[in-house]
Symmetry: C2
């Protein structure tokens, strides 16, 4: 029997916390016998939500944390001052090895800062990138880095490429993940100073399958499995994916109700349209791992519902079972 | 009566040249009495295409150019060596004031390099940005810069913001264009080194309406009229717009034919769907101006058809009539 994975979950993080988080956690333990959850946050609020559901004995416990970090708070200050916040308390459970992973839909900045300061980076890892999975016509790709640590150097990007490759291989079962660097043209001599410096270093990496540059128009086509970029660019890509999706949805709706004939047709196509759009919802995959830390930290989307929270929690199983952190450590020995 | 605008058009540039270009030029002069066109390129090829249409006397002439610059050629070398290429010959028509504008669907790199080297920048302008119009839920926004000159400095971005504002005000009739800088968060303290340095400079500009940062997810919502960014980021935004559009179209088609009911509905909604997708086609606006040059250079999309070429040519009318180059010069005096 495989080992139990203990996931600490920030019950106070996200637009619909604690209700959505607690339900997501309940579903996770009910559907996955290999997971136990520790809900972190305000005791009364969590107990009130938990009382609504049947929970198998011993599968969910609560770790009290009296404070909540708001989305708008400056991350560094918040992490330092709010020692009893759900994010700080949850991350400490990783540090003390009481939990294998921490999932939060709260402030991205606080999770990124706290992840590095409290859980800490694997020795040798220079930066811990936030790496969401994004939907493509081919399945999914890992976009690394989308975090808040901008102005990366080439040595950071090389580590991102290698960690991303390990993740896609072990968690998403891509045998030889194709790694590409985001660029403004396909040719090696194109790019800004950072890309030009990083490109030859990626070519030299023997542990990844580097396929060269990828232009942004080819990202949705799924031409690479690991898409390497500096965090500012990654953030733009991730948010534009979300924004164009909403744009198409909103104007499709308008178009579909523009004539009597199209209204009739709309009723017939709506189910398949909704499914299509759901396929391209960046939230679907539940959470973005923060790679390169001691233990796993997963950032779920702020607007996560119970299903997304459950996905984020479930993602931690294979991370633990595949022992990604050890594989990342070993990568640094090569 | 308003002055005639003479537009030099690269007959050899683009995937469907010279056929699509020549037809676009013919339509432009037929639909717009204030435009005359000079087709630049291989004489025989142009004459063979022109022979297919009725052209009013004296409205289209041909300037011979025996060479063609390929998409794959390194731009600087191509501009220097191929003195008799359609791009070099066409740009020289601007330099000698024989034409007011030059339109090409050829190599972006060669047009950008040639524009600066041959047409030349307005004195005081440090960089000539490529600024396409992108569709949004509100209409269109100007994305500046999407060119090939990466690693811009803050002083460049400030000029982009001011030139973009002049363009949107005079060509697109936005009374007080809202100018925003692409950033990874809404707060002033967020961003990479370049954005942090540029933000306070934009705040100080009295001739623009600076509304602060824009996150990529808000670009498709049309939250700003002039979207300022460094060329690498602009290129990613432009190409991802294109790529996500294709992704949605392709998966919508698949979804619509997935069941008998949705197939029936699809026939009814197809016209409105096609219109919606066309509304968000970045090619629709015909071409992206290269701002800050002596004379107007317009880069049309490589896959432009006759309608896009016509739009690109027509765009030159108001650029000339509104005397944008003089307005940009005057901006530098302030």
């Amino acid at each position: 029997m495989s080992e139990i994975v203990r996931v600490a979950v920030d019950a106070m993080g996200g637009d619909d916390a604690p209700a959505a988080v607690v339900l997501g956690a309940v579903n996770a333990v009910n559907n996955h016998p290999e997971i136990n959850v520790t809900l972190v946050g305000v005791m009364d609020a969590i107990e009130a939500e938990l009382a609504k559901y049947k929970v198998p004995a011993g599968r969910i416990d609560i770790k009290a944390a009296s404070e909540v970090i708001d989305m708008a708070e400056p991350p560094v200050v918040a992490i330092r001052k709010k020692k009893d916040s759900s994010i700080v308390v949850g991350l400490n459970l990783i540090k003390t090895r009481e939990a294998d992973a921490f999932v939060s839909a709260g402030s991205t900045g606080a999770i990124l800062v706290g992840g590095q300061l409290i859980a800490g980076r694997i020795p040798g890892i220079k930066r811990a990138p936030l790496a969401p999975l994004i939907p493509t016509l081919n399945g999914v790709s890992l976009l690394i880095d989308c975090g808040a640590n901008v102005d990366a150097r080439s040595e950071h990007l090389v580590q991102f490429a290698r960690m991303g490759s390990i993740y896609m291989q072990n968690i998403m079962n891509k045998k030889r993940p194709r790694v590409a660097i985001v660029n403004i043209g396909a040719e090696e001599e194109k790019g800004n100073a950072l890309v030009k410096e990083t490109y030859p270093l990626l070519k030299e990496c023997k542990d990844i399958l580097f396929i060269g540059s990828i232009e942004a128009r080819d990202i949705p086509k799924g031409k690479a499995d690991v898409i390497v970029c500096e965090a500012f660019v990654g953030n733009v890509i991730l948010k534009l994916y979300e924004g164009t999706g909403q744009m198409f949805l909103s104007s499709l709706k308008k178009g579909l109700t523009s004539s009597l004939l199209s209204k009739l047709g709309a009723a017939l196509v709506l189910p398949s349209l909704k499914k299509t759009l759901k396929d391209f919802d960046t939230k679907k995959y539940g959470g973005a791992p923060l790679l390169g830390l001691n233990g796993l930290v997963v950032k779920a989307h702020g607007s996560s519902g119970p299903a997304e929270i459950e996905n984020a929690i479930v993602q931690c199983i294979s991370f633990k079972q595949q022992d990604i952190s050890t594989k990342i450590s070993q990568m640094l020995q090569v």
